[in-house]
Symmetry: C2
Subunit: 581 residues, 2 copies
């Protein structure tokens, strides 16, 4: 198509409120438009990108025997009451009433709808296994939409649900999907995406992986082991701490005036922070009951781990005057029984701790948890640290990186099939709940992530598989009859060969402006026709990633570009790394 007809305006200035490059470039390039908090419209340039991503995902889902279905965006509350999530999910789930006061929700995920669709179909073991998927809009009332298409409230998602009669079968299918995801990310141009072990969160499953694009713009922290390749989301990474014990000495309660932080008290008592016990206090959302988490002074609490241990939603505590807690002096020994208490594994094996004495102005010295409390159930609730010990190979080789989650896969077990009474009759006549897996990819976020991974200061550098067009022709000085004729002919020849071309033949627009626009559209191959090239009987062909720049004979140019394009597609297709789970 001709660039002059393309709906969507491009501009030069970086919008003020963009914290990441892809957001700024996708606004500047006429890809998307802000409609409301976390809500965007897609201009044609982006819709072409998302449509290509959708086609790649469909092909890969079909290749692993997926069958496309469509669930509704709006669902009756009853469906979510069946699974229990109508009550357990907080305000992310939009609830409203229709004209007859029936309660409805907006789908933020579709496990319930999937089970409802196939509950009758899947009554015999003979129907298993099967996988259904959809590409559909979802709405999640995020508290903090951010970074353009990276974290929005409304989004298009591919979500897939598989059903199985045995754990072995689920494991096998999970692996197929795991591999298909790597092929998808390879085909859309970011084969560097890594799968990391993940926390199953509200999906409530057993095994789970997230696909992470390692990128400073990401909001997730990823733990990687340089020695053995272990990878996990910070939320799921086991924290390994070895303490070297020491001699147990008698417990002392000492006055520590104005020492309300763990650093201050360690300094005051001249003890290393590695033998201190830090308190971090939360409250349960449901009833504001207090929960105290104790970690070694140099560690931080991982809220997700703690939430999973507590088994319900929590928030950082506000310690009121009548609370059974002495702010600044909270410790595990002598703590009020009203407070639920968790001790992290990082405290295990320390013979004498510095810890709060639960008394204004006092701390303990030489606190020995097992001696003082009788018995202690240590739990893993701290965040892994840079340089920490790998839970897999036990080497102190952990690094922490930022990542954007571009996909996730879960083993759900029978969580939904049992709560929603989906059952099948086995060969031997016995009744079981099928096992489920679910598999998601956000389309818009994936487009933005590719842009974040592949861009320069002038615009996106789209991989050819998802670029809005494959070739961008600039006709500099279309008022020059010879140049215009050459450019028109190239446009027609390429289009006739099935190449997707955007053609800039705007009159009165300078070359610099044309190139700036081309950079913002990020089309992988550019052909520049100009009176100067024309004189030499050449067309200048260059790639957006600057790897190719060549003056090609006019008569050769269409063939040359077609070969280049085919090669670029093939290179991407070869990026389908399969990594072990």
């Amino acid at each position: 198509m001709k660039l002059k007809n393309l709906v969507g305006q491009r501009f030069k200035e970086r919008p003020a409120d963009c914290i990441i490059d892809s957001h700024a470039l996708m606004l500047r390039g006429g890809y998307m438009k802000y409609v409301g908090s976390g809500i965007y419209s897609e201009f044609p340039a982006l819709r072409r990108v998302t449509a290509k991503i959708e086609a790649i995902i469909r092909a890969e889902m079909d290749a692993i025997d997926g069958q496309e279905v469509l669930f509704p965006v709006v669902m009756p509350a009853e469906l979510w009451q069946e699974s229990g999530r109508y009550d357990s999910i907080a305000r992310e789930l939009v609830r409203f009433q229709d004209r007859s006061r029936s309660k409805l929700v907006l789908g933020m995920t579709h496990e319930e709808a999937a089970v409802q669709l196939v509950r009758e179909y899947g009554q015999s073991y003979q129907q298993y296994p099967f996988m259904i998927y959809q590409i559909q809009r979802k709405f999640r009332d995020e508290a903090r939409p951010r970074a353009g298409m990276i974290r929005v409230r409304e989004f298009t998602m591919k979500d897939a649900y598989s059903f199985h009669t045995s754990q072995a079968d689920l494991d096998q299918y999970y692996q197929r999907c795991y591999d298909a995801y790597h092929r998808i990310f390879g085909r859309v141009g970011i084969p560097e995406v890594v799968a990391v072990a993940a926390d199953a969160g509200m999906m409530g499953g057993d095994l789970s992986h997230e696909y992470m694009l390692l990128n400073d713009a990401g909001e997730d922290s990823i733990v990687l082991c340089a020695a053995c390749g272990y990878r996990a989301n910070m939320e799921a990474a086991a924290n390994i701490v070895e303490n070297d014990g020491g001699e147990a000495e008698p417990l002392e309660c000492v006055e520590t005036p104005d020492c309300t932080t763990i650093d201050a008290v360690c300094r005051f008592l001249q003890r290393d922070i590695c033998v201190s016990c830090k308190a971090v206090v939360y409250q349960k959302n449901a009833d504001d009951a207090y929960v105290a988490a104790f970690v070694r002074g140099d560690y931080e609490v991982n809220e997700t781990k703690l939430r999973n241990l507590v088994g319900e939603e929590i928030h950082p505590a506000e310690i009121t005057a009548d609370a059974p807690l002495t702010a600044g002096y909270i410790g595990p020994y002598g703590l009020s029984k009203q407070v639920e208490c968790y001790c992290d594994l990082s405290l295990k094996g320390i013979a004498g701790l510095v810890a709060g004495a639960n008394k204004e102005g006092f701390h303990y010295r030489n606190l020995n948890l097992e001696r003082e409390l009788g018995s202690v159930s240590y739990v893993d609730l701290a965040k892994v640290k840079e340089g920490g010990v790998c839970p897999c190979c036990k080497k102190p080789a952990l690094t922490i990186r930022r990542g954007i989650e571009v996909g996730n896969i879960f083993q759900l077990g029978t969580k939904y099939s049992s709560s929603m009474h989906m059952q099948y009759t086995d060969k031997d006549g016995t009744i079981h709940n099928p096992l489920m897996g679910c598999y998601g990819i956000g389309i818009g976020r994936l487009a933005a992530s590719v842009c974040e991974a592949k861009h320069d200061e002038n615009g996106p550098i789209w991989p050819i598989s998802i670029a809005p067009w494959e070739v961008h022709i600039c006709c500099i000085r279309p008022d020059d009859a010879a140049a215009k004729k050459t450019a028109d002919a190239l446009y027609e020849a390429l289009t006739a060969r099935g190449v997707e071309v955007i053609y800039d033949d705007r009159e009165g627009v300078r070359g610099g402006q044309m190139f700036a626009d081309a950079d913002l559209l990020g089309v992988p191959i550019r052909a520049v026709v100009s009176p100067r090239n024309q004189k030499d009987n050449k067309i200048e062909v260059a790639t957006r990633d600057k790897s190719v720049r060549e003056a090609v004979e006019i008569s050769e140019c269409c063939d040359y570009i077609c070969r280049l394009r085919d090669k670029m597609h093939k290179t991407l297709l070869s990026h389908a790394p399969v990594l072990p789970v």
Copy 2:
């Protein structure tokens, strides 16, 4: 794919609550599943149909220079307040609040979003004309969902919006879209769809057409002229009535005991119903103010016409004791000034009417409207009758048929561009609001309409362009090695040639059951491999519409089917009638 793997169960019994065949067949065939009132999920068989419809629509929209975009399902209330529709649309528009109490709506149509997207882009006349479209989910809180996918609350819709700088340009584009719609309906297999003049309704436009599939299952009434081809929705069809005058006689007020219907009073006074004046009373939704519509006794009020005249929402009146109306005796002469009054054109030219006297137990005889009321502005508010006079050719040749609306197109004028302040600068520097057109097709309803138009008692007869598969292979007795080998080879050969095949090789399923399932899936070409055919070295090939049934040599069969399939596609493509607006 193999039928045994297809998700979705088929069954024999017609579900109890289905008023139309397509609904029953699409449930029985495993196409769709009820989720909630007016809300369905699509099984793979239907998703394949809707995906093909979407592809055809995309191709035709692209062919008239449409550019695909994507608007959000959820929109901020402010956007709808700009156009005024946040307040003017009743409960069809779902309104809710998010976690921060911001008001949101669910998109039931996207004029507002379209204007918001291109308001900055369209600031210069040079950008015009352009058209953008999307294929997206919508939710409309219908009071009475019915007939399966025909009238639902959540649906996938293709909605397109065009922008123009002159009425001539809009007219020209409107015609292109008008033709494209006929091509779409031809390509999906229902070329018999007719365009009829329509009422613009809440879209608030000027010129509008609906595309109607004439079918008894439809909920619209369509007026057709057998003489000249005039076609209009009942809501938009002008009603032509010629009265032959007569002599004016003196007004009389006569007692008409117990005559509270127009039939009763005409019988009692021995007058023809064609000289009577019937009152139909409504109330305004906003303030319950009364509105009286008067029509000739043998006509019915068309509520849509009346609503347009009143200019706001109305409902049939409840005449309370303190109302300024005498139920059963309401007439235009002597009516309380508190009641807004409309006289239909069917009353014009009658010298002496029978009409209510606005007095309990009394009617007028010889009421002459112009004489009694001074002057009368007659308006068109009655429904056309079978055999009525065509407003176009003036012949009494009107017939009335039921129809399903499968698409609509509107000229919106500047309604949205002016209310939402979308402006462009013209060549001469003047500022204008662009003119708009909008163009909709509901995907699911179209699928159901095709099924309604093309089915027999055993299942849908899908046109090949949108059939879930092109060929259905039944292997009767797959335990017979020779038959199975033949069927497998045909499946592979057809698949290798790019034919979409569903292959039924289920063991232990009788031929009758296989054929019943094949009928429900409605695939246009069926190939039956059986031990009996095998003996003769034949495969039986038949079409779902029964036009072809032939025993074909095994070695010829793949070629034969491919030729048949190509011919069927070509026949459909040739169904692209272009009718004048």
